[in-house]
Amino acid sequence: MNLYKYASPVNFYPLAGKIIPWFAIPAALLFAAGLYVGFFVAPTDAQQGVVYRIMFIHVPAAWMGMFLYVMMAIYAGIGWAFNARLSSMMATSISVTGASFTFLSLVTGAFWGKPTWGTWWVWDARMTSTLILLFLYIGFISLQASIDDHRRADRAGAVLALVGVINVPIIYYSVQWWNTLHQGATIRILNKPTIAPKMLAAMLIMLAACWLYSIAVVLVRLRYIILEREQNAARFAEVTA
């Protein structure tokens, strides 16, 4: 099977249409399962009480915001370096979902911060760097929207995405590098998590749901971007013929 043929937007379009339900349906089921475990199975936190349950949407949203930015930068970089149109379109498609999750993490963080810290917002290193991430997403989307020529828009967006990726490790390590109000990481790849297994289960199920949801909506949007650009390309070819 020649997988390279799917690097072409025209060939990838029908494939994306076929695989979207394989991500969308499990995402919906996992959202339901995650909320059930989070609200009915996971115990109440000894220190924060019930309000900690905001974590089950806040933490996956924050992780997705960072992860999607890295993915967007990789696709934008590949698109720029190899003139791969589908990769650039993928970066454009990811940007909206990444911005949505980053905004969601900031808002849910504010809802969590008010009852636990006594304030909706502080200019804390973690929160400020996450806000910068949102501005980077908005900058990427606005920059691409302001340039009519798609190839130039993709190149300009790629530069911004690649420069901005430095902010992701800053967000991740901000709670270690600076003295912040935001709590440190409770889950690390190499160390044992410091939260109860049922809480961890709910959070990981919600993370999986957010992941599958992201893939589904990014693919749906990618199909529309392919359609719009191919329509425009066809019209452009007719006008200039």
Binding site: V50, V51, R53, I54, F103, R235
Partner: protein
């Protein structure tokens, strides 16, 4: 389940309501984009483009 969330219902449900709006809003915007593409396509067909 304690629907008042120990007196923190506004914060807990507020956060999840916002999440629902964000996800619902994204899905709705994709649906509108699809309709816009279909509209453009049908308009082009009528013009004979």
């Amino acid at each position: 389940m304690d629907w008042s969330q120990g007196g923190y219902g506004f914060y807990v449900w507020g956060a999840y309501l916002f999440a629902l709006l964000a996800i619902g809003g994204e899905v709705l915007s994709l649906h509108r984009r699809k309709r816009s593409i279909e509209h453009t396509k049908s308009a082009s067909a009528v013009k004979g483009d």
